[in-house]
C-alpha cells in the first residue's frame, strides 16, 4: 500500500522535497550563497518538518528518551526519506534502521536533513555545532552516541568528529561506533569521471564544448568533494576547486576512540567480478582495505572484521536493506 493511501503525505518527504533535495545536491552551494529559499538548512527532521532543538520539542517527539543516541545522516541529493524501507508507512516502528534500533535496542534516533551541495567540511562544522546543541537540550543523560552515515553522510560525520574535537564539543567523547554505508572515503568513481569529462570539454578549442564544460563545472562543491573523498578544509583552503587544480585538502585522522564499520554494496554476486571492481555499488568502489591483511596503508583504523560487503545491494539500497540492518544491529549488540 502506498503512503498516499495511508494518508501520510505530511509525514514523509514527497516529490517536492525530493526535488529540492536533488537540487541542493546539484547546486546547493549556489543556492546557499544566493540566500535562495530552496536552500536547505541542516536540522533534525521529524515527520517532514524541522525539529526545534528544545527539551520540550525533543520530549514531544521522544516521550521516553534513551541514553543512546543514534544519528542518521543521508547522502548526496537525498533527504531522511532515503532511510525508509520501501512500502512501509513512516509511522510503522519498522520503517527504517533508526526506528528499528529504537524498538530493538532502545536507541533514540534522530534523522538529519541538510544541504548536500555545500562543501563537506562546512556541513561537518555545522553538524558538530548541531550535535552539541542537541546534547545540551537532551532531556536525560547520554551515555553513548552511534553515528550512521550513508554515502556522503559518512564523510560529513568524519568531518564533524574532527571539527567537534577542535571546537571542544562534549558529544565527541560519547561516540562509540560510526557506521559508513557506501561512503566514498577514497573518492567516488562517478565524480572522478565527471572531473575528467569537464577538464577535456573545457580544453577542446570549441565554444560549444567549452559551454557544456562550463555548465557541468557549475556542479556543487559537495559533489566535487566526492572526487577524492576530501572532507576537511583547512584554514584558507575552502575555495572552490578549479578544474585541473590539485586538491590540497586532505583527510584528518579517524576518530581515535571510536569503532568504525564499513558497509559496502556490490552490483554483482561476486565481489571480484570486473563490473564490481570497476563500479563497486554503482557509485562507490570497494575500499582498498577490503580483503587485505594487514590493512592497506592509509585505509584507516578499519580492520577486515569491520568491513562487510553486501552482494547485489546497490548504493541507494544500502540505506534501507534488511540484511544491512541486521549487520548494524549485530555489531551494535555484540561489540
Amino acid at each position: 500500500m502506498s503512503r498516499r493511501q495511508h494518508g501520510l503525505s505530511e509525514q514523509a518527504p514527497q516529490w517536492t522535497e525530493w526535488g529540492i533535495s536533488v537540487l541542493n545536491g546539484m547546486i546547493g552551494d549556489y543556492l546557499h550563497h544566493r540566500r535562495n529559499g530552496l536552500a536547505i538548512d541542516m536540522a533534525c527532521y521529524h515527520r517532514n518538518h524541522p525539529l526545534p532543538l528544545t527539551t520540550a520539542d525533543l520530549l514531544r517527539v521522544h516521550p521516553n528518551p534513551g541514553a543512546t543516541l543514534c544519528i542518521l545522516l543521508h547522502g548526496l541529493g537525498c533527504n531522511e526519506g532515503v532511510w525508509a524501507f520501501p512500502d512501509t508507512p513512516p509511522d510503522n516502528p519498522d520503517s527504517s534502521y533508526g526506528t528499528l534500533l529504537q524498538r530493538e535496542l532502545d536507541y533514540t534516533p534522530f534523522f538529519l536533513r541538510y544541504n548536500t551541495g555545500l562543501p563537506v567540511a562546512d556541513n561537518g562544522k555545522t553538524l558538530a555545532t548541531l550535535l552539541d546543541n542537541l546534547l545540551n537540550c537532551y532531556p536525560t543523560h547520554v551515555d553513548d552516541i552511534v553515528l550512521i552515515g550513508h554515502s556522503m553522510g559518512g564523510l560529513v560525520l568524519r568531518s564533524a568528529c574532527h571539527y567537534g574535537i577542535r571546537q571542544g564539543c562534549q558529544w565527541v567523547d560519547k561516540v562509540q561506533r560510526v557506521f559508513y554505508l557506501g561512503t566514498p572515503h577514497e573518492g567516488a568513481i562517478l565524480e572522478q569521471l565527471g572531473h575528467v569529462a569537464v577538464t577535456v570539454l573545457q580544453k577542446v578549442p570549441n565554444p560549444i564544448t567549452q559551454l557544456i564544460g562550463k555548465i557541468l563545472d557549475r556542479r556543487s562543491q559537495g559533489v566535487k568533494d566526492l572526487r577524492s573523498g576530501s572532507w576537511l578544509a583547512e584554514d584558507g583552503l575552502d575555495d572552490d576547486l578549479e578544474v585541473g587544480r590539485p586538491d590540497h585538502r586532505g583527510a584528518a585522522p579517524w576518530l581515535a576512540h571510536a569503532r568504525h564499520y564499513l558497509l559496502v554494496g556490490t552490483l554483482t554476486e561476486d565481489p571480484d567480478h570486473a563490473l564490481t571492481l570497476l563500479l563497486g555499488d554503482a557509485l562507490v568502489r570497494l575500499p582498498r582495505a577490503y580483503g587485505q591483511s594487514p590493512p592497506a596503508a592509509g585505509s584507516g583504523p578499519v580492520p577486515n572484521s569491520h568491513i562487510k560487503v553486501f552482494p547485489k545491494v546497490d548504493h541507494i539500497r544500502l540505506a534501507h536493506d534488511a540484511k544491512v540492518y541486521e549487520q548494524i544491529k549485530l555489531w551494535c549488540s555484540n561489540e
Partner: protein, 99 residues
C-alpha cells in the same frame, strides 16, 4: 502532493530568473565567439570586406537586441513575481488584533 512554502516558491522564481540571466550571458558569449571567425575571415577578402562589415554590424545589432529583450523580459517577470508573492505573503499574514 505536498505544498511548497511561499519561501520556496520565491526560491523557484529566483532560480528561474538566475538561470535565464546566466544562460543568456553564456549563450550570447558563445554566439559571438562562433560568428567572429567567419566574419574575420570574410573581411580579409578585399572586394567583399565592406558589405561583410555592414552585415556583421546588422547581425550584432539584431542578435544583441534579441538578447537584451530577453534580459528585460526576465527582469520584468522577476519584478512581477516578487510583487505577486509579496501580495500573497501579506494576504497570508493573520490580521492584527484591534486595540
Amino acid at each position: 502532493m505536498s505544498r511548497l512554502s511561499l519561501q520556496q516558491i520565491r526560491g523557484v522564481a529566483d532560480l528561474i530568473h538566475d538561470t535565464v540571466a546566466g544562460s543568456v550571458d553564456a549563450i550570447e558569449e558563445t554566439h559571438r565567439t562562433i560568428v567572429r571567425k567567419p566574419f574575420a575571415l570574410l573581411k580579409q577578402i578585399d572586394p567583399i570586406a565592406a558589405p561583410v562589415r555592414t552585415i556583421e554590424h546588422i547581425e550584432r545589432n539584431i542578435a544583441g537586441g534579441v538578447y537584451q529583450s530577453i534580459r528585460v523580459a526576465n527582469r520584468l517577470a522577476a519584478t512581477l513575481s516578487t510583487q505577486v508573492l509579496n501580495w500573497l505573503e501579506e494576504a497570508e499574514e493573520p490580521p492584527q488584533p484591534q486595540p
